[in-house]
């Protein structure tokens, strides 16, 4: 290679232009990438709703079956959502609310009163009264809603705690 051609004015300009335009393009791409990601990884905020528990009705059954209805944000839309919870009172101010959504593939489990377990109709997953897996494919116990009792009123957090948080919890 000739010594002169290593770095001359033309070469310098070429490198300079490529560096500057390349940096601008890189920064713009980062902004576009962030725009594309949007709110995909945003954590759901807790949403407390008040529910009414019929203490007399569930005493014999173990759980009161509550249909939770609430509004939820879906991007720019506000849609109504429904989910099912099995709720019971443990103490005067302590409520347990088990989400009826199966941890396997999201079907709705039903409480079997006679034999004291939750049964999923899709793949025969079974959970005990605490939500622990007895048999079948479910990988984790049933999720629980956070609950709160204030002045006799019962509140549930409809955004259930993510699966991972439940593995070490006492159930």
């Amino acid at each position: 290679m000739e010594k002169e051609s290593d770095m001359n004015r033309r070469k310098f300009m070429e490198i300079g232009i490529y560096t500057i335009t390349g940096s601008i393009a890189a920064v713009c791409s980062l902004a576009l990438a962030r725009f594309t990601v949007g709110k995909s990884f945003e954590k759901k905020k807790s949403r407390w709703i008040e529910v009414e528990l019929d203490d007399n009705a569930y005493q014999n059954k173990g759980f009161d079956r509550l249909v939770l209805e609430y509004e939820q944000k879906d991007g720019w839309l506000t849609t109504s959502a429904k989910s099912l919870a099995y709720v019971k009172r443990v103490k005067a101010d302590e409520i347990i609310s088990i989400s009826a959504t199966c941890t396997h593939l999201g079907c709705i489990v039903t409480w079997n009163e006679e034999e004291n377990y939750f049964k999923c109709p899709c793949h025969d997953g079974r959970f005990d009264a605490d939500g622990k897996v007895i048999s079948g494919p479910p990988p984790r116990p049933l999720r629980r809603h956070n609950t709160r009792v204030e002045q006799g009123k019962i509140y549930l957090d409809t955004e259930t705690v993510p699966y991972g948080d439940y593995t070490n919890e006492r159930v």
Partner: protein, 219 residues
């Protein structure tokens, strides 16, 4: 020799693009006597590229329906990170494009660059101007706010006053008698599919012709 160079030479040995790229595209010498006003065609194209890129990304969030259009645009602008930037670049590029396009056209006209043998290129250019205007008109409706709605109402009504064919064209552009969902979806389809593809075809023609015929130098 690093790995990129080796890949490059491996490809070039087979495709023989290097000579062509150097001679006809990247290192093509420009004639003497050009001035800054010759840049505006290129700037217009640059703005077109910006519009295309930001446009692609905005389709991630936009919904062309009367119920959701406004909310989706508002969500994209104010809640999605950098949404204001992406939409802002689209907005300002579109506005600036009219200016640079006009300067480009004015320069070609004043320098007489449209004359033989470049008449066909002038014609494609004029058609491209029409396409850009159509882009502007259809894009203006998409946010579905008051300004967009009434501007389109007026714009389409203007067409309706044209003798004989007015009523026919009015219904065709609106997709019916009234301005509504059908108008929004067809404007959207025009804006993101029909117009861009047509524009791309004519741009290629525009560029191939200027390369083959060369830039017309001032006298």
């Amino acid at each position: 020799m690093n790995v990129f160079k080796r890949i490059y030479f491996w490809m070039d040995e087979r495709l023989e693009m290097n000579d062509y790229m150097k001679k006809d595209i990247l290192d093509k010498p420009i004639p003497k006597g050009l001035n800054l006003s010759y840049c505006f065609g290129g700037i217009t194209f640059f703005l077109f590229v910006m519009l295309a890129i930001t446009g692609y990304f905005m389709t991630l969030y936009y919904v062309p329906s009367p119920e959701q259009a406004y909310d989706s645009v508002s969500y994209m602008t104010f809640e999605v990170p950098f949404g204001y930037l992406v939409r802002g670049v689209h907005y300002w590029s579109a506005n600036l494009m009219m200016v640079t396009l006009f300067i480009h056209m004015l320069r070609v006209f004043l320098y007489g660059a449209y004359k033989r043998p470049r008449e066909i290129n002038w014609m494609t250019g004029v058609f491209l101007l029409c396409l850009v205007l159509a882009f502007g008109f259809t894009g203006y409706l998409l946010p579905w706010d008051q300004k967009a709605y009434w501007a389109t109402k007026v714009g389409t009504s203007l067409v309706g006053t044209f003798p004989v064919v007015g009523e026919f064209v009015l219904k065709l552009t609106r997709g019916g008698q009234n301005l509504g969902a059908l108008t929004l979806t067809r404007f959207y389809a025009l804006h993101v599919l029909f117009l861009p593809i047509t524009t791309l075809i004519f741009l290629i023609g525009h560029f191939v012709m200027i390369r083959r015929q060369g830039i017309s130098t001032p006298l």
